[in-house]
C-alpha cells in the first residue's frame, strides 16, 4: 500500500473511502464525521498531537490515538463516539478550561471560536473547577497590530509553530515550561514580521486578536465577500469581513495554487487604505489651479476632449493594480481611436516582442504549485519577500518539508538566503552577465564559461539545480539567457512582474512592444523614452490609469517634470498624489474590494476580482467609464458589463479564448492549462534570432562598465543598487495600522566598506551622485558584496535614480 492509494476504512460503522497516508481526522470527514481538533492545522506542517482533543478508538490498538497524527490504513476500524472516547473528549475540554477565563461575552472570538464550539459539542457541559486560574496582564500589545490575551491562550502551539516553521522568523516563542508556559517574544519586544497577522487567524481562541478589528463586529453582524488582493503580484485570495458596507477585516481564502492559505500583513491590514477618508470619490476637473468635483458627463467630456486633441501624441501608463479589463480598454482607446502606440504598464524598459514571447511561452511557465513539486528552486534577481511575499513562504515550505534544494543569485541579500544551500551575489546591473555565466555552466554552449569569481559563483549555483525538476523564480533584467538557462535545465520560469497584475496587463496589450495577446503592433516608446518625450513635448498627453509614476518610477523626479510639462493629464486614481497634482481631469479609481473584473497571476492564472463593498461616493465601475470614454472617442465597444469586457479580451487575446467568469470561478484557472494555450503566438521550439535581442542600455550605469565586470569603485565610492521594500508603498502610508512600518531610507553596505569608508558607528550618511543627494541611515550587513550598497526605492526621495551608479558617501552633515 502506497500513500495516495484509495483505501476503505470504517468510521463509526460507516464505510469511508480515503487515500492511504491521509490523516484520520481528514479521512473521517469523507464519512461526515467531525473529529474535534485544536492544535492540528495541516498548513503548519507535521501534526504535533499536543492538544489531545482528537483522541479516538482504533480497533486493535489498546490506547486511544490522536486522529490528527494517525495515517489511515485499509481496513482500519475507528470509533469516535464510544463512551471511552467521549470520556477522553470531555476530559480534554475540562482540562482546557481549567485555566481559560470563559470571558466569552467580552471576547472578540465569541461566535466564531473553536473553543466555544468544541466545548459545546464535545465538552462535559459543566465545570468542576473551583480553583483560581492563572493570571496575566491582558490584553497587551504583542505588536502594534496584534493584542495578546494570555489568559485565554490554550497553548495549542499554532502561533509559535507558524513563527518557527512557516514564516521562520522565530520571533514568537513559548517561554517558561509546563503550566507556566506562555507565548511571548525575546525581552518583551514587539513581534514585527511581514506575515505575523496570520497568527490571528490561526488562534483557535481569543488570545490573539487584531487590534484593528477589536470590538468592531460580532460574527452575526457581518457578511463575507471573496476577492483577490491586488496590492502585489502575489494576488492572494482574500475574504472581506463586511459590516454595514464597510470592510472590517481581511481574512485568507485558502487557495493552495496561489497562496497556500496565508496572507502578508500588507494584504491583511491594507484594507484601511480603502476605507481612508482621503479617497477621491468624485470625478474632478482642474479649474483655476484646483481640482473641483464635477458630474461624470462633464468629466468624461473633458477627458475625451483632452485625448482627442492629442490623438497619437497620447501615452497611457497603466498601473499594476489595474484589472485586465481596465488595461484592455485603456490600450484599446489609445491604440484605436487615438492611434498611439504608447502604452506602458511598467517603468522597466521593455524588451522586444520576440524576447517577451520567448519568456512567456506556456511550455516554460511554472505554476506556483510547481514549486512544491520541484527538486530545486533558483531565485534569481529578486527578493521574493519584497517582490511577491507569499512566494517567500512557499519556498521556505518546500525547503523545510520537501528538502527542495534552493539557490539564490541576486545583487542584494535576500530574506531566504538563510535557507538556501548556495547564494551568489553580483553587482547591481550585472544580472544578465551572471545569467549568461550560469547558462554556460549548465551547458548552454552559446555562452562562454566565465572566469574567476563569476565563474566560480555560477558553478556553485549550477551545482544545486536539478535538470528537469527546477523552478526559476526571477525578476529584473530580462534576457534571452534566462530562457536559455531554463531550456538547458528543462526548468520552468516564474517571473515576478513589477506590478500586481503586470502579467495580465502585458497580455492584454499594455506594453509598447505588443498588442493584445502579445500580437504584433507598431512599437511605442519605452518608459524611459516616454518620460523624455513628455518632457520634450513630443508626446503631449498622459493618461494615467491607477498609476503614480512620480512615486513608483525609479526616475520619479523626471516623471514629475514630464507630467508638469504635459499638455493634458487624465488620471484615474484612488488618491490625490504626486501625479494627480498635474492632472487636468481625475476619475475616482476603484479598489480591489469594489472592482469587478479579472487579473492574471504571474503564473498565468486568471482570477476574479469581485466587489465586496459599494463604490465610495460617485465612483463608478471603471470598465464602464472606460467603455463610455471609448464611445465618446468613436469606439462603440458595446461593452455593457464586466463580463462583456472579459469577453472582448477573450476575443482579442487568442490564448484567453472563450474564457468566462464562470470558468475562472472562485479559484481561478491558468490559461496555459486550457486548450486555447495552443493559440500562443510563438510556436513551441521556435526561437528568436539572437541578434534581435536588445540589451537594455539604460540598465548600464554611468561607470559605463560591461555588466558583470564589477567596476572597481573609487576608494570613497559604492556601486548602488535599489530595491522596492515591501513597505515602501502607498498602502503603508494610507493605512493607519501599517504606517509604523514605513521604511526609513537606509544605506546597506558590507562591513568591509563600512570599515574602508570609516562609517562604523556613523548613524546617518549623505549619499551623493552627480549633484543629487539624499540622506540615509547606515546598516552594516554581512552578506552584502563589498563595493556594492543598497537603497530603498519608492520612498519619493529619488533613490531610484541612483541605481547602478557609483556614489560618494559621507557622514551626514548636521546629523546626529
Amino acid at each position: 500500500m502506497t500513500n495516495g492509494e484509495e483505501i476503505t476504512l470504517v468510521v463509526d460503522g460507516v464505510e469511508v473511502r480515503a487515500q492511504a497516508g491521509m490523516m484520520l481526522v481528514d479521512a473521517a470527514k469523507h464519512g461526515d464525521v467531525e473529529i474535534p481538533v485544536f492544535c492540528y492545522e495541516p498548513k503548519l506542517g507535521q501534526p504535533v498531537g499536543a492538544c489531545r482533543m482528537c483522541l479516538v478508538e482504533i480497533e486493535g490498538i489498546p490506547k486511544l490515538q490522536t486522529a490528527c497524527s494517525t495515517p489511515v490504513r485499509d481496513g482500519m476500524v475507528v470509533y469516535t463516539q464510544t463512551d471511552r472516547v467521549q470520556e477522553a473528549q470531555n476530559a480534554v475540554v475540562e482540562f482546557l478550561l481549567v485555566n481559560h477565563p470563559l470571558d466569552c461575552p467580552v471576547c472578540d472570538k465569541g461566535g466564531e471560536c473553536p473553543l466555544q464550539d468544541i466545548s459545546m459539542g464535545w465538552g462535559p457541559g459543566k465545570s468542576r473547577v473551583i480553583d483560581p486560574k492563572r493570571h496575566f496582564q491582558k490584553p497587551i500589545p504583542l505588536s502594534p497590530l496584534i493584542k495578546i490575551d494570555r489568559e485565554r491562550c490554550i497553548l495549542c502551539y499554532r502561533c509559535v509553530r507558524f513563527s518557527q516553521e512557516v514564516a521562520e522568523d522565530e520571533q514568537l516563542q513559548l517561554l517558561e515550561r509546563g503550566a507556566s508556559t506562555f507565548v511571548g517574544t525575546f525581552d518583551d519586544r514587539p513581534y514585527i514580521a511581514p506575515f505575523h497577522g496570520n497568527i490571528i487567524e490561526l488562534c483557535p481562541v481569543g488570545a490573539l486578536t487584531s487590534d484593528a478589528y477589536r470590538f468592531r463586529a460580532r460574527p452575526w453582524d457581518i457578511e463575507d465577500a471573496g476577492t483577490v488582493c491586488t496590492l502585489c503580484p502575489s494576488q492572494c485570495n482574500i475574504k472581506l469581513t463586511v459590516r454595514d458596507e464597510r470592510i472590517q477585516r481581511v481574512l485568507a481564502r485558502d487557495n493552495f495554487e496561489v497562496d497556500d492559505g496565508w496572507l502578508c500583513d500588507k494584504g491583511r491590514f491594507g484594507y484601511q487604505m480603502i476605507e481612508s477618508p482621503d479617497r477621491i470619490t468624485e470625478p474632478m476637473i482642474r479649474q483655476g489651479g484646483t481640482l473641483v468635483p464635477v458630474s461624470w458627463e462633464q468629466a468624461l467630456e473633458a477627458a475625451a476632449a483632452g485625448l482627442r486633441d492629442a490623438g497619437e501624441r497620447t501615452a497611457a501608463v497603466v498601473g499594476g493594480p489595474s484589472s485586465n479589463e481596465e488595461g484592455y480598454l485603456t490600450q484599446r482607446i489609445v491604440r484605436g481611436p487615438l492611434g498611439s502606440p504608447h502604452v506602458v504598464s511598467t517603468y522597466d524598459d521593455a524588451v522586444d516582442r520576440e524576447l517577451l514571447l520567448e519568456l512567456s511561452r506556456p511550455q516554460l511557465a511554472a505554476s506556483v504549485a510547481d514549486i512544491d513539486r520541484a527538486e530545486s528552486v533558483l531565485v534569481l534577481g529578486t527578493d521574493p519577500m519584497h517582490s511577491m511575499p507569499i512566494i517567500d513562504l512557499r519556498i521556505r515550505k518546500v525547503v523545510r518539508r520537501n528538502g527542495t534544494r534552493l539557490a539564490v543569485a541576486t545583487d542584494r541579500p535576500t530574506s531566504i538566503d538563510g535557507v538556501a544551500e548556495e547564494t551568489a551575489r553580483y553587482s547591481p546591473g550585472a544580472m544578465s552577465a551572471f545569467v549568461e555565466a550560469l547558462a554556460a555552466e549548465t551547458g548552454a554552449e552559446v555562452y562562454d564559461r566565465a572566469e574567476g569569481e563569476l565563474g566560480a559563483d555560477a558553478e556553485r549555483i549550477a551545482g544545486i539545480l536539478r535538470p528537469g525538476s527546477t523552478v526559476i523564480v526571477w525578476a529584473g533584467e530580462p534576457s534571452l539567457a534566462v530562457a536559455d538557462l531554463a531550456a538547458q535545465l528543462d526548468a520552468k520560469l516564474l517571473e515576478i512582474p513589477a506590478g500586481a497584475n503586470g502579467r495580465g496587463l502585458r497580455e492584454v496589450g499594455c506594453t509598447p512592444v505588443a498588442g493584445p495577446g502579445l500580437s504584433e503592433t507598431s512599437t511605442g516608446l519605452s518608459p524611459t523614452d516616454l518620460c523624455e518625450a513628455l518632457t520634450e513635448g513630443d508626446v503631449e498627453v498622459a493618461f494615467l490609469v491607477n498609476a503614480d509614476p512620480v512615486r513608483d518610477a525609479p526616475n520619479g523626479p523626471g516623471w514629475n517634470e514630464a507630467l508638469q510639462k504635459a499638455k493634458f493629464v487624465l488620471a484615474i486614481s484612488m488618491f490625490e498624489d504626486g501625479s494627480t497634482k498635474h492632472a487636468d481631469v481625475v476619475f475616482p479609481a476603484e479598489s480591489y474590494t469594489e472592482k469587478e473584473g479579472t487579473v492574471t497571476h504571474p503564473d498565468g492564472r486568471l482570477q476574479r476580482v469581485r466587489p465586496g463593498v459599494p463604490h465610495p461616493g460617485n465612483a463608478r465601475p471603471m470598465w464602464e467609464v472606460l467603455a463610455e470614454l471609448a464611445g465618446l472617442l468613436g469606439d462603440e465597444t458595446g461593452i455593457d458589463s464586466a463580463g462583456e469586457a472579459l469577453a472582448a479580451i477573450a476575443q482579442d487575446v487568442p490564448f484567453y479564448a472563450r474564457i468566462t467568469e464562470g470558468e475562472i470561478g472562485g479559484l481561478g484557472v491558468r490559461w496555459q492549462e486550457r486548450e486555447a494555450a495552443r493559440n500562443f503566438p510563438l510556436a513551441p521550439g521556435a526561437r528568436p534570432e539572437r541578434s534581435s535581442v536588445v540589451v537594455p542600455t539604460s540598465h548600464v550605469g554611468t561607470t559605463g562598465g560591461v555588466p558583470g565586470a564589477s567596476p572597481a569603485p573609487a576608494s570613497d565610492q559604492l556601486q548602488i543598487g535599489t530595491y522596492r521594500d515591501l513597505w515602501a508603498a502607498e498602502v503603508t502610508d494610507r493605512s493607519p495600522a501599517l504606517r509604523f512600518l514605513r521604511p526609513t531610507q537606509t544605506l546597506e553596505l558590507s562591513p568591509a566598506d563600512a570599515e574602508r569608508l570609516g562609517l562604523n558607528g556613523t548613524p546617518e550618511v549623505d549619499v551623493r551622485q552627480n549633484g543629487t543627494s539624499l540622506r540615509a541611515r547606515v546598516a552594516i550587513r554581512e552578506r552584502i558584496r563589498p563595493g556594492t550598497a543598497f537603497l530603498v526605492d519608492g520612498l519619493g526621495d529619488g533613490a531610484g535614480a541612483l541605481a547602478r551608479h557609483a556614489v560618494e558617501v559621507s557622514a551626514a552633515e548636521g546629523g546626529e
Binding site: V92, R177, G178
Partner: protein
Amino acid sequence: MAGQTRMLFRHVDEPGLASIDTYRRLGGYRALEKALRDIDPDELLSSLEDSGLRGRGGAGFSMGKKASFLPRGDMEKFLCCNADESEPGAFKDRELMSKNPHQLIEGIVIAAVAAGIGQAFVFIRGEYWEVADILDRAVEEAYAAGYVGENILDTGHRVELVVHRGAGAYICGEETALLDALEGKRGNPRLKPPFPAIQGLYGGPTLINNVETLSNVPHIVKNGSDWFKGFGTEQSPGTKVVSVSGCVQRPGNYEIELGIPSREIIYGLAGGPPEGHEVKAWFPGGSSAPVLTADELDLPYSFESMADAGSMLGSGSIIVADENVSIPHLALRTARFYHHESCGKCTPCREGTNWTVKMLERVISGEATPMDLDVISSVQDNIIGNCLCVLGDSMAMPVGSMVAKFRHEFEAAIEAGRDAAPRPLDESPTDVKPVPVGAAG
C-alpha cells in the same frame, strides 16, 4: 554484604577506578578489543539480543532487540546514552558514571559498533556537573588511548562521543524529549511513531539506552550471553542496581539479582526504617510507581511481580515512607514535582498536574470536601492514557494510588486543615494574586 551481586559495581571503591589506567588494570577495555577484533558486528548484535539484557531506564525493553530495529545502511546513525537520571529516588547512574565512567564508555562504543553507529552522545542532566566533568575527562582519555574516535584500535571502526550537558528538566529523560534537547530545542516529547530507531536525532536512526544498560554491555561481550543469563531471572537476566532511599537506615545503591524478596532489599540491605519505626508505604520504582503498602513487602522484587501488584519496577528505585509520614503531604510533594516538570505540550498533563496540585493544596489547607477527593481521583483517571508521553501518567498513577489506598488520611487531613485555619463562611475563596509573568513553579 549479603544479597548483593556486584558486577557493574565490582571494584566500585577502588581508588582511581575513574582513570583509564586503573580501569584497564582491572580488565577494562578487553571487551572492546574482543568485540572489534574477534567478532563481527552482526554477531555482536545477536549476542546482545541473546543475552536477554533489558533496558534499565524504566521500560525494560530488550536492549539487543531495540538495537536491531535500526535500519542497516550507510546513513548516519546515532546512539544516545540517556544519563538524564531525574526520576525521584533514582541515583544509580550518577554513581555508575562517577565511579566507573570507562565501563560506560566501553559499553557505548561496543553498542555503537554493533549497530553500525558512528556518532554517540551522552545526554547527562545538567545538575550532574561534577559527574559530567569526570565523564569528560574519561572520554578524553579514551580518545587519547584510541578507544573512541576514528579508526578505533586500527579496526577501521569510527565512533565519536560527545558529552552533552542538559540544563535541568526531568522530561528530557523521556527519550524523544532527550532528542529535542540534544538538537538544541526545548525538551518536548515527540509524537511516536516515528520511533527513534527509525527517525530520531537529526531525523536519523537512533538508539537510545540508559547508562546502566550500556554499562552491562562490556560484561556480556567479555563473558558471553550464556554467562550473563546465569544471573537474575529468566525474564530479566543479569544484575540490577537498586537505589534505596527515604526512611531507611542505609540509603544507597545496591546491586542485586532481580527476584529476591523486596523485604530483603529494604530491610536486609538498606537496614529498614530506623529503630522503632515501620514501613507504611513504599514506591517500588521511583515516584512514578503506584505506592505499595507494608503488606506487600514480601513480594519478589521483579518486573513481573511489581506489575502484578499494580505497580512497576521502573528504574529500580525504592523510596520508603514510614508511619510518621502524612500521605496527603506525600501526594502533594509528588504532584508538585510532576506539575513542575510537565513540559506543557499536551493538555491533560499540563492542566491535569496543575489542577491536581491546587486540589491537594486545598485538601491540606482544609478548603476541600471529601467530594473533592472523588474529583481528584477522576482527574487522575482522565490523565491516564490520554497524554502525549508518560509524564502525566507518572503523576496520576501514584497520586491515584495514594488516594485509593489511604483515603481516610486525606479525609482526616481535610478536617485537620479546617481546624487549624478556620475561615468564616462569607470570606471569598483564596485571594487571587496575579502570577507574575515568567514565574516558574
